[in-house]
């Protein structure tokens, strides 16, 4: 279940103590359920993998999100995600709605400066959600995409507890409006798949494509010639709660 660790990444145990600090330690003062996607014309869309070939460990898919470009109040990326992934249920208790991606507002308490950013599964290289899963349903694919195999998920929600980013949701009700490429249903946990079905046919995630500000960049972190790797090599970027040493595939700029 575990892909090879990347050089420089820490053993998984190291984060456990830190994880106790939990989400409260993130310093986020407000979580806005609205959101948008950010995408721009992507120069390096994923290459179409040949039918019959497996995801390659030579690739590591990642996202770079420029919080400086993310427009306040915009929810285009969330809308695009929900349409793409068929997230159509609206429950009486909105806290039970699935959130594959959400908008977060950071407020610097000293000067009141506000920053908005989209937050979703960070596709950790050392994912705690995979560590804790009792059935092996929570898994990391060879190319770094973290997924839930719903065929084996028993809905125990350990992974929801373990994830420091609140990235996972449980589906509470029977569903009928699934997109054929994105099966989902009651009793299983789910989270952002990095639009794995689109990536596998050479497209970028729906959020990336939908962002009018071009705030999101998708690509192969392992390929030094990709736009995302070049940007990460040239501007300061952060992994949220990098102290947990999960080595997330989603990075932020302008935080």
């Amino acid at each position: 279940m575990t892909a090879p660790q990347e050089p420089g990444s820490n053993p998984r145990r190291a984060f456990i103590a830190a994880a106790g600090a939990g989400v409260a330690g993130l310093g986020f003062t407000a979580i806005a359920p609205g959101l948008h996607l950010m995408a721009v014309g992507q120069a390096d869309a994923a290459e179409v993998r040949k039918a019959g070939s497996a995801a390659s460990p030579a690739v590591r898919w990642g996202l770079l999100i420029d919080a400086g470009k993310c427009a306040p109040g915009c929810t285009k990326c969330i809308d695009a995600c929900h349409t793409e992934n068929g997230v159509s249920e609206k429950l009486p208790d909105p806290r039970q709605n699935s959130q594959w991606i959400r908008k977060i507002e950071l407020v610097d308490r000293r000067d009141g400066r506000k920053t908005e950013l989209p937050m979703m599964c960070q596709h950790c290289a050392n994912p705690p959600c995979v560590d804790v899963c009792p059935t092996g349903a929570s898994m990391k694919r060879a190319d770094g995409i973290v997924l839930v195999d719903r065929h084996t998920c028993i809905g125990c929600r350990y992974c929801m507890m373990a994830c420091p980013y609140k990235a996972r949701s449980l589906v509470h009700v029977p569903l009928t409006e699934q997109n054929p490429e994105v099966p989902r249903g009651q009793g299983c946990v789910e989270s952002c798949t990095l639009c794995v079905h689109r990536v596998d046919r050479g497209q970028t995630p729906a959020c990336v494509e939908s962002c009018p500000e071009g705030a999101m960049l998708f690509g192969d972190l392992n390929d030094p010639s990709s736009a995302i790797a070049k940007r990460i090599a040239s501007v300061p970027t952060t992994q949220v709660r990098s102290d947990l040493r999960l080595n997330q595939g989603v990075r932020y700029q302008g935080l």
């Binding site: 359920p33 609205g34 959101l35 993998r49 039918a51 019959g52 070939s53 497996a54 995801a55 929810t75 969330i78 809308d79 995600c81 929900h82 349409t83 793409e84 992934n85 068929g86 997230v87 159509s88 249920e89 609206k90 959400r102 898994m139 694919r141 060879a142 190319d143 997924l147 195999d149 719903r150 065929h151 029977p174 569903l175 409006e177 699934q178 997109n179 054929p180 490429e181 994105v182 099966p183 989902r184 249903g185 009651q186 009793g187 299983c188 794995v196 596998d200 046919r201």
Partner: protein, 130 residues
């Protein structure tokens, strides 16, 4: 799984002896599944093999696709739907004449696939605003 196999084999044996799939002859006492196939003759494997092994084929394919990211295999639930969805309802479920439901209700084998998978051909989800 073994039980499922036995049931499936029994079921298919039953279908095999009744080529006109309706009630077993007018006046017959045993109901037979009514199978509607929208696009016959294009299956990925011969009928006998599909009847006995479709669940194994789909299970192995699903694990390869899900875990290793292998796409484009011949066995695919979505591809099943494309041919087998009813012309009337657009779905493999809904009435006992629709492809999956007809045999499975006849054999009393529970269908879990459609709790998560979309049973309608060409369905496009819309999603909601947050």
């Amino acid at each position: 799984m073994k039980l499922l196999r036995i049931l499936a084999t029994l079921l298919f044996a039953a279908i095999a002896v009744s080529p006109a799939p309706t009630f077993a002859g007018e006046g017959g006492r045993t109901a037979k599944p009514v199978i509607e196939i929208a696009n016959p003759g294009k299956c990925v494997a011969p009928v006998d093999e599909m009847r006995r092994n479709h669940m194994e084929m789909l299970k192995h394919q699903r694990d390869r696709t899900m875990r290793q990211g292998i796409r484009g295999e011949p066995a695919s639930l979505n591809a099943c739907i494309e041919c087998h969805a009813s012309k009337k309802t657009g779905s493999v479920l809904g009435s006992n004449e629709n492809f999956c439901q007809s045999c499975h209700s006849y054999a009393a084998v529970k269908l879990d696939c459609w709790d998560c998978h979309q049973p309608k051909a060409g369905f496009k989800a819309t999603g909601v605003k947050p």
